[in-house]
Symmetry: C2
Subunit: 379 residues, 2 copies
């Protein structure tokens, strides 16, 4: 028997991102252990080794670190103060806490991005009605109010249209609110990059992300925008990964406004906007994240087709389960179906479909057809 | 909570084929349970659910069938008589035992293929020295002798060059030997197809397989042969899948001789010659096998690049472990590395590398470079 113990990666969180990381880990011979809250989470059902514990449970993360070479994350919901403490104890965390904080705290991120010279929307932090009104006076109604921590997929974000609405929100929310004007958006762009611990950076082509009901629903790759704008976007992704000292995947969400590109927010982990890369790029974002956190050379980010489109599968309103319809949807030629094995609930992300083609339009048509079937439409 | 219980596939065997089937199963939301002999086999390490039992253990297979919708196989080493018995009891087996037998018993396969009208080499079954000498008189030395059951990767196959060698082999072997002339081979071709329970068939482009030390080492796709020969080969694959009533993957190994194509042998499961399809085709052979055994529509078998080459990683003579060298090998751009997580032994298949390119030569160069590093050569 060989004494080889494979490269071992620990991941806090066991959702679909950890599930797809497990799939990539199998190919590379990497042993993934996830910190799950329950034993029916997507990554556990996919067979990743697991420990049960909350993401705020320091001892569980210490246990995870003791079994692995490096600890990384499939979400942002680990208390930043705990990460600082674990880092001080010498745990190998990827990304390091100072970088991770910029994906965890929107107010802190705004401050730091501006300091680093990245374009950000006008913003302020408010905790009183007076402060909200002052900001609205300056920028006009409606304004956007965001909880600095804990929001995702539209949760923790409010459009505030009047003094009355502002009053109601202030009453309802404890703590600070990050305020921004409601921007005039031409589109949203995401840039996915990866950075290794020694500074190597690789970036995927710019992605247009299409939101519905404040949730990312479609990825169009390459983003159908002029080449110079695409280059500016990917350049911002690379600069961001370097400036903040990220280790692992970096997803930067950008607003394309009439005044140019503005940084919205950051994820420091594999991200919805990178799902296209499983079939659509030479190296998937999940393999790339594993390579980066292990300090391995990064892989090619070239597209495998002229156009790649990914569309999320979301739980339909009637509560029916898209898993029941996989056998029909899979008949759509060229549609690559990914099922997260989560129980169906209306509005919940349950999977995604990727298609490759000569044009974004054609790829979108294929992906939409399969998603339509999965979500319960007629084929 | 939904009452959905996903599609459940049982697989007898837990080697690299089951491991890569587990990887495909995650994407589709299919729950794979393998029958493993030990808990450190490749599919178990990849997180497939597992039962421990020998492939000859009928009760273990019954247990597996009780937990799943259909039972399939990652090898040929299940006693054919046991499969017939389980089939009679009503277990859903894919492929059915009568088809599987043709991948398990070379003598039976030769007889049946000839009966079905497929070209096979001259052959006979012998158990005495006299019978061997009679065959050699007819076809000349050397002749090939094969154990009808249980051989793979060159095991159970002998080149017999003289009466003395024949005598020695007869003394050493219990039971029958299948005899064939040593054919003049131009090359070996493999055809990988899949058939669903209702008769739907899909076939991948013809594959040239390159053997070294009687083990498949390289796959060149599409096989660099004239189009009419490639079409004849894939046509034979489809005809074979249909004629024998296969369900699931069918890999047909063909000899290309100066007299044309001849059927060598068959595998009724995912097969080494189909590994290129993970990155190289629109649907991997592992996903295709799952679709076929579940009775789902089959996927597109189109290549994702003009040329795809896969090269096996084999344990080097010095006993060193290719897993130690993944971080260097992965730096080869465009090389897709698959590690089976098996302990290194000289001559053992431990992984494979696939590369896509504009030409077979270019893809081969990339794959060879990575395999060279993994097997301990200098980069």
């Amino acid at each position: 028997m060989s004494s080889f113990t494979g490269p071992r990666v620990g991941m806090v969180g066991a959702g679909q991102l950890a599930r797809m990381t497990q799939q990539a880990a199998i190919g590379l011979g990497v042993h993934l252990t996830v910190l799950a809250e329950r034993d029916d989470e997507p990554a556990v059902l996919a067979g990743a080794d697991f420990l049960i514990g909350a993401p705020a449970d320091g001892d569980a993360i210490r246990d995870l670190a003791g079994r692995t070479d490096v600890v990384t994350f499939d979400h942002e919901g680990i208390p930043p103060e705990l990460l600082v403490e674990l880092d001080r104890e010498g745990l190998r965390l990827a990304p390091p806490p100072a970088a991770k904080l910029l994906a965890q705290d929107k107010a802190e991120a705004r401050r730091r991005f501006a300091e680093l010279g990245f374009p950000v929307p006008p913003n302020t932090v408010a905790s009183t009605l007076g402060e909200v009104l002052e900001f609205a006076d300056l920028h006009g109604w409606p304004i956007m109010a965001k909880a600095p921590r804990g929001g995702y997929d539209g949760r923790g974000v409010w459009t505030v249209g009047s003094e009355a609405e502002a009053n109601e929100l202030i009453d309802q929310i404890e703590g600070d609110l990050l305020l921004e004007p409601k921007l005039d958006l031409l589109r949203e762009i995401a840039v996915v990059a990866a950075r290794g611990p020694e500074g190597e950076v690789a970036v995927y082509p710019a992605i247009e992300t299409v939101q519905r009901d404040a949730m990312c629903r479609e990825l169009l790759v390459p983003a159908p925008i002029p080449p110079d704008l695409a280059e500016e976007a990917t350049g911002m992704g690379v600069a961001m990964a370097e400036a903040i000292g990220a280790v692992g995947l970096v997803a930067v969400e950008l607003f394309h406004t009439p005044d140019g590109l503005i940084v919205n927010e950051l994820a420091l982990r594999p991200h919805n906007s990178g799902h296209f890369s499983i079939e659509g790029a030479d190296t998937s974002q999940f393999e790339q994240h594993l390579r980066a956190v292990l300090g391995w050379p990064l892989g090619s980010t070239e597209l495998t087709a002229p156009a790649v489109v990914t569309i999320n599968v979301v739980g339909p309103e009637d509560g029916s389960d898209p898993r029941e319809r996989v056998p029909e949807a899979i008949a759509v030629d060229g549609a690559h179906i990914h099922i997260y094995d989560k129980d169906a609930r209306p509005g919940r992300k349950l999977g995604h479909v990727t298609a490759r083609a000569e044009t974004v339009e054609k790829a979108r048509e294929t992906a939409l057809r399969a998603v339509g079937i999965l979500e319960g439409g007629t084929p």
